[in-house]
Amino acid sequence: MSRPADSDPGPDAVPAQRRLALNEDWAATVVGLVLLALVLAGVWPGWLVP
């Protein structure tokens, strides 16, 4: 039933998006944990949170 799979992966957009998603995973983990550490250490005061 299905049409033949298209073997053209197209421009490098998908690999680039995949790399970006993986980098965002690490970036989110680092930013989240750094913010948590700053708050728990008392370095980041409550009034400075937007």
Binding site: G10, V14, A21, D25, W26, T29, G32, L36, V49
Partner: protein, 366 residues
């Protein structure tokens, strides 16, 4: 070379402009959610103003911003700054700090069981139906992954695994958002009609809504307990993304493309595709649990409240980005078949997900 550098600089400037737009709308959302309920007190709108949570303001203003920027002709260039995935994942890592690790441990068993059954049934159904309707194999893989696992992230992972075309990924991502936005409002309303307890509601929302940002939005509308369980369930599905991506890579390399020379994916491939923010979420929960047990929960509370404010801020930025990213054009180009597949899979997901949530989460406490 100079032209290339100028073009790159322009792209970066537009991306920063995009982030600035998200932050500006996010600030307006924060202002509205903090001031409107007080301003409406004593008026005819008091009940309505109190019921509107920040995800609703954020998505509505994001969609409004989308229309304005499209009319001005700058939306496409600013789009690189609409980083829904980064904002939501940072928000979820911070959310981990407000969940005691024992809750995650307690919910992990039912969450893994629910995710395994739901992913198997919904992926299998979507793959089968898309095949019956003659949808291209790669688009089948993208649709089945997106609807059964975790929306856009799963579609990106699957697109990498099966070497899909850019348009197929853009199309699937648009479908995910188009189905996610109404479900943000429909599922919390259905939770009210059905009178579901918070853990069951959270499990249903977490197991059903495709995109992680929309799960958080719907969970936040229902309440804090539902948000916590919804996040644990969704994070479990996210963690299983690596397994499905590796299975798809193997299937397409060995069966569909029949390129026997392709290396069999191993542990390294699995690790590469594993969503790393899940580790951040678990680490935040462990750190905050230890912090709370050392200081005592009363002493730890003010710091956790600051972390929760940060979490809300990142979730607002993610929901604003959802509204700004929304696109209808790719849907018009692909025809009715993939839409019919996605809609049918969503209905199956809703039914099976509700049954599993009631079965597995009725006894879970937060």
């Amino acid at each position: 070379m100079t032209d290339q550098r100028t073009a790159q600089r322009n792209t970066t400037v537009w991306a920063i402009g995009g982030v600035a737009v998200v932050v500006a709308i996010g600030a307006l959302v924060r202002f509205l959610e903090q001031t409107v309920p007080d301003a409406a007190e004593g008026s005819a709108f008091e009940g309505l103003a109190g019921a509107i949570e920040y995800p609703i303001y954020a998505i509505a203003l994001g969609l409004l911003g989308n229309v304005v920027l499209t009319l001005l002709g700058v939306r496409e260039r600013l789009a690189a700054g609409f980083r829904t995935e980064f904002f939501i994942k940072t928000g979820l890592v911070l959310l981990g700090a407000s969940i005691n690790f024992s809750v995650i441990v307690g919910a992990a068993g039912p969450a893994v069981l629910q995710a395994l059954v739901l992913i198997t049934v919904v992926f299998g159904f979507t793959w089968w139906l898309a095949g019956r309707l003659g949808v291209d194999d790669k688009l089948r893989a993208l649709l089945a992954s997106a609807v059964s696992i975790c929306g856009v992230s799963a579609a990106i992972a699957a697109a990498g695994a099966v070497q899909a075309k850019k348009e197929q990924l853009a199309y699937t991502a648009s479908l995910v958002i188009i189905f996610a936005i109404p479900s943000i409002f429909f599922l919390p309303a259905a939770v009210g009609w059905l009178g579901l307890p918070a853990p069951v509601a959270g499990a249903w929302i977490g197991g059903n809504i495709d995109t992680t940002a929309a799960v958080s939005a719907a969970g936040a509308i229902v309440g804090e307990e539902a948000l916590q369980i919804a996040t644990i369930v969704k994070t479990t599905q996210n963690a299983l993304l690596g397994v499905v991506a590796v299975a798809l890579t193997a299937y397409f390399a060995l069966k569909v493309e029949r390129s026997g020379s392709a290396a069999r994916p191993g542990l390294r491939e699995f690790w590469e595709r594993f969503p790393k923010f899940v580790l951040g979420f678990l680490a935040a929960s462990i750190i905050a649990t230890i912090y709370g047990s050392v200081l005592g929960s009363a002493a730890a509370k003010p710091a956790i409240e600051i972390v929760n404010d940060f979490r809300t801020m990142f979730l607002i930025l993610a929901f604003v980005s959802i509204g700004l990213e929304f696109r209808v054009a790719p849907l018009r180009e692909a025809g009715w078949r993939p839409i019919a597949v996605f809609a049918s899979a969503t209905v199956v997901n809703l039914g099976v997900g509700l049954g599993l949530a009631v079965l597995l989460f009725s006894g879970v406490t937060v």
